[in-house]
Symmetry: D2
């Protein structure tokens, strides 16, 4: 099926290996549970694969990224072990058009901080708060098919101030038992790529088994998919009356490469 979205769910896959209570919740790894939720919602529209930190080059080779449409990222304990070279590679592919969905503790991943330019720090507490996820942009496709609020009975608290650029679109705002609030669903366009950050989900709680959370992640994947030809935005010298072109290359969307 030529129109299928190729999705890769990247998981750190460390908590599951060393913490029995995490393995009990996610026996096949968190990445597998997340991938299953996407496949369940997108069906034939998507082809979903997984990769983990311990794969060669973390499973994120040039070949893999070239074939990819949307990358979903979950990491937490081992952000520092992700190689800088791979982060630069992923960054280049996102700016060239690969969609990126960053989940929960991925807020502090190298790739998210690289794209945001800020500390991406926040307030947190692991104390079984109830999280309510309220829709504030009811027309957005990412909010389709889920109630407002989504009720997550038990979850880590993430609170403001969340040090990100003002999102292009703010879709969800969460509250927690303690009274904290969080911009929990945000979109950002960077280069030719679309980025969605969604905070619900943690290794200590079965959040990725939650039907509505799975639906939002799948919606995010569909939204982040961009079917234009891949190109890294590049400085382009443009002659007068040579509109849309530069150095003889064909034009289009200003992302023509020049040497």
């Amino acid at each position: 099926m030529p129109d299928q979205i190729h999705v890769l769910v990247w998981g750190e896959n460390r908590h599951e290996q060393v913490e029995p209570h995490v393995a009990a919740i996610y026996p096949d790894g968190m990445h597998s549970t997340i991938a299953a939720g996407i496949a369940e919602n997108l069906g034939d529209r998507a082809r979903v694969t997984t990769a983990t930190l311990d794969d060669p080059e973390h499973g994120l080779t040039e070949e893999v990224l070239t074939e990819l449409d949307v990358l979903v990222w979950w990491g937490h304990a081992a952000h520092g072990e992700v190689s800088d070279e791979v982060v630069e590679r992923v960054h280049r592919h996102v700016l060239s058009g690969v969609g990126l969905v960053v989940l929960h503790s991925g807020h502090w991943s190298k790739i998210f901080k690289r794209l945001m330019g800020t500390t991406c720090s926040l307030r947190w507490r692991n104390a079984q708060d109830r999280e309510l996820v309220w829709t504030v942009d009811p027309t957005h496709p990412i909010a389709g098919g889920v109630p407002s609020p989504i009720v997550i009975d038990s979850q880590e608290m993430y609170g403001e101030f969340f040090d990100i650029p003002a999102p292009d679109e703010l879709i969800f705002i969460s509250s927690f038992t303690g009274g904290e609030v969080f911009r929990s669903g945000c979109t950002f366009r960077r280069g030719n790529g679309k980025v969605f950050y969604f905070s619900p989900g943690d290794q200590d709680y079965p959040v990725y088994h939650h039907e509505d959370v799975r639906r939002v992640i799948a919606n995010g994947v569909a939204w982040a998919h961009n079917d234009r030809p891949r190109a890294l935005p590049t400085v382009l010298r443009s002659e007068t009356d040579d509109l849309g072109n530069g150095h003889g290359q064909p034009g289009g969307h200003g992302h023509v490469s020049v040497e």
Copy 2:
């Protein structure tokens, strides 16, 4: 086909009746040319009909609007003849989820001013300027499949300051021979409805025969379509621990109606 987008192109249809040079460019009326461009691009995805000012209730009855997905609006000389009652009706349906694509001189229509809350005034000149339409949001679906810039050889000039709210998304910026610039492609979300304003197009120029302009308008229609159940956002009294509900009605997206 249950998934077809039902599109209605509304045209004022006055210039075509009284000005031979306009009739020569648009022999079936501007609305028909605009409708043909949408049908040509969306094919089976859309069912496209037209209505004009002189139809009973301007062709915008409660029944028509209830069945509609996206309304495309072109008006110019007779904005004042559009009945206030119909404008309020269209406004209510847009806030309930009908998509709206406003073209060119529609910037000064009652419905666009009603939705924007500003004067929607601008700078203009009718002197055969060349318009260049540059994409500044290359990831946006509305910019799909068109070059940057779109070159329109001869066109009315619309320039800044364009008195609109800052758009949610700025997709296109135009320049003109005289050096003026204009935010020519803008999106706005209002209530449960999505609004796209696109400025190229005028009765004195064959702009709606331009392949790229037709593609953008069709893209705008597809984007403005929102398949959620229709509902006007309504004040909702909500009891403690009655999350997502109000007065016993079912919840969902905060647009529950109450009596």
Copy 3:
């Protein structure tokens, strides 16, 4: 002092007249308490006066508005009694450059709905919730000098979905005891005017005596003040090579009036 900001606090002044418990909280009227909070914070920088619904023309004559820099609006039970003519007058002055600070139940005032173009509806409950007001834009001058969160021990709940256009700047998000969230501090630029909406405050609670709430309202007044010459944005016909001008009038910011 020529640089003083002239501020007018407009109050509906009805609850105070008929409900003893409101009069007990606000013995001089809510507008007086709000005005005192602004004066206390801005000192010599502002000259603060008040007007109420029952004043002739609601105290909002052409003369008053022409002299004004910033209008602060509180209304609730009697929105429908505000004359449409006065609303159109205020609307014109805001688009011409008068700043507007809309408080709490003013979300449903004619002037706010006129400027927003949406229903401005929301979720609510009057049940002594605790409101926490979190800063999400720590660089914004309106958030200066207040803690995050501001704690309001007892307050009416306002919750999402709040049917407003996406704000230009989202400064505060509130949570309530029941778990609801609300975009409680938002800015909007409309024409040449700046609008700030701030939701804390209600007739049944002593919120306008709260030191931090008073500080935010005063900050909002200072922010909404715009010292440019007043002008309503107007359609302007502009000749080629007559940059910045139209019909012989001097240019500047595109808000030149033409006849």
Copy 4:
């Protein structure tokens, strides 16, 4: 004067040393001309100093940055010679609250790319285009006191697509003789810092002697100044019912440091 804004204009200062025609336009260096324009407009409100690439640590030591309010950046030919360590230091200080004004070819500086997270690439041509700078946000303080358009008779062309995140506020759009457009005045909030990018200005043209350009840069400096206490946003563990605090440190704006 305790309330003075301390401004540092940083200049690469290379073209001036090796190209006689640049030295002829800017005999004291571009940084000195830029600094003079700021001082001329802000008067006693600002204390303006300069530093250049060849100063020890580029003149951007920890001590200098700690005392600074706003940094103005001009670089072009030698972006690669700016030390990564200094860039990280400036980045940290901007996120902590130092204002940053980036000029023209500074779009490709390490610090701007670090803050934006994108390539910051664009279209360009050095062919003596006329640049017109149109105001699209007439209420913004940065647009105060200048005409729309600002006319720059001769200037390098910078055109779209400009690969930046959608700006928080778009203040100016430029057009050029060739018909290109550019988002020439943009604001971005990052952490506790405010960033203004303004494109007019080049070593080959006397743009920094232009009265209106000098006014905009000075306005940008005044806007970027943030008088709150400096703090880098930091991850904060927060106990239930310990609102606004974390690990015993005092709260405030969510940017409390923790160890």
